[in-house]
């Protein structure tokens, strides 16, 4: 087992130093369905963590909570020492307003399973629009940066193309460039290769591997590709029914999982 679980006391100052992401007794319910049950987990700055587990185990919900696409039912989430969707008023925590959300969101970026490129903009514009509009970066500067990123994802020649003219793999690489253009500290990857044709998967994975190795980006990755999970992560969390059943470094989880549930899951995935 790892030593990630921190002993008892937690003054704010310390948590600010140590954790990029911190879930504290997070509960998420959709109607009657409880997706996350009092979930606690922490991620260090620069750490690369993969979430695995059966569908419906709450992995994607964790990413969506971090991206503020959903709100917690109870409990708190902190990103880089700040409450994500709460603000402190006196002694109480109250739901945060849009302004606060936008502040905290600056640190987080996300790549989606379905790419979600904007069809009303060409590739370059997809990448520059948010920095220009949401961050106020001058357009020429944003474009220069976008072209660098397109270079990185090896699509420099596609800047003027329309997203629909690109293959799935290319679209996903643009989506990655688009997320990186916002210079997030945390990047969330939500089954980013699941919607791709098999022969396009490796291109995207290689790119992400490079990105993971270069930067000091904190990565949180939901995937069903175990080899990719193994390559990319420092730590793997196995989820089932809204809780972490096992965690450890990839080597340990994939070669000698301790829990029966993990073994069953890995067996099922590898057989598929």
């Amino acid at each position: 087992m790892t030593t990630e679980t921190q002993p008892g006391h937690d003054s704010r100052a310390e948590s600010e130093r140590q954790w990029m992401i911190r879930f504290d007794k997070v509960v998420k319910r959709f109607g009657d369905v409880t997706v996350l049950r009092e979930l606690d987990f922490h991620v260090k700055p620069g750490e690369r963590v993969t979430l695995i587990g059966p569908s419906g185990s709450g992995k994607t919900t964790i990413l969506r909570l971090l991206m503020t696409l959903e709100r917690v039912t109870s409990g708190t989430i902190e990103v880089d020492g700040r409450y994500l969707s709460h603000t402190r008023r006196g002694d109480r925590l109250v739901p945060a307003d849009e302004k606060h959300l936008r502040q905290v969101r600056k640190k987080v970026g996300m790549v989606f399973q379905q790419f979600n490129l904007f069809p009303n903009m060409n590739v370059l514009r997809n990448i520059t629009e948010a920095p220009v509009r949401a961050l106020g970066v001058p357009r020429d500067q944003a474009e220069a940066k976008a072209r660098e990123l397109l270079e990185l994802v090896e699509l420099a020649d596609k800047a003027d193309k329309h997203p629909s003219r690109l293959s799935g793999g290319q679209q996903q690489r643009v989506a990655i460039a688009r997320a990186l253009a916002m210079e997030p500290e945390v990047l969330l990857l939500d089954e980013v290769t699941s919607a791709l044709d098999p022969e396009l998967v490796s291109g995207v994975q290689n790119l992400l591997r490079d990105i993971a190795q270069q930067g000091n980006l904190t990565l949180l990755c939901v995937t069903h590709e175990m080899r990719f999970a193994r390559d990319i992560s420092d730590r793997v969390l196995m989820f089932d029914q809204g809780q972490i059943v096992e965690e450890g470094d990839p080597e340990q989880i994939f070669t000698e999982p301790e829990h029966q549930r993990t073994r069953e899951f890995l067996q099922a995935v590898l057989d598929a």
């Binding site: 969101r105 904007f118 069809p119 949401a134 329309h162």
Partner: protein, 244 residues
Amino acid sequence: MTTINPCGAELPGTLGEAMPFLCRGAVVTLQSTLGGSVIAIAIALVVGLMATSRLRSVRGVARAYMEFFRGTSVLVQLFWLFYAMPILTGYQLDKVGAGILALGLNLGAYGSEVVRGAVQAVPPGQREAAVALNFTPYQRMRYVILPQAFVAMVPPMNNLLIELLKTTSLLSVITVTDLAYQGRLLVNSGSDQLVVFALMLVIYFLFSYLITLLMRYVEGRAARVVGRERPRRRRSAPAVEGAR
């Protein structure tokens, strides 16, 4: 108004007799259509977006507006605006003004539904991506959602505008001197019914076709913005199909 007539009083027979009047009526019809359209589109956008709000109260207001103005007839709304409002408020709109307002309010209610539907039909992933990229709620709507929803709005809006054009004929009941009014006047004063009614038919049709052409152009532009070709339309000219 006796000497110069762009619509040719010198035309032979019933044509020469009717066209000057029909033309004047047509101009009024066109003005009412334009005015009504501007108001209807403005209302459709505002109320339609209100109907997609996350705030229940805002949605409620939009809902109430739509149901009320769709559920009561244009004619009755017209009577209220023109006859009843002056009694209640002491403010008398002129005939054309009241007509335009009634048309705008009524068709705007239908248009709101079009806007709401089109906005909600944009895949949720688009909004989520816009949130993830930290756009403000206004920016999400303005730069991501609306441009995509717009394409879907145009064809049903085309229907509504044609509907609006034809509904202008109701304005004749409050004695707005539109095409329908002039036509009936001509017939009542002894012009050949068949010719007059045929001319009215042609003029209404030309106007509605004009709207369709305009909206197709707009749709084509909008479709290109989201990277889709405009759906191909069959040509009536001798079909010269490309190889395929």
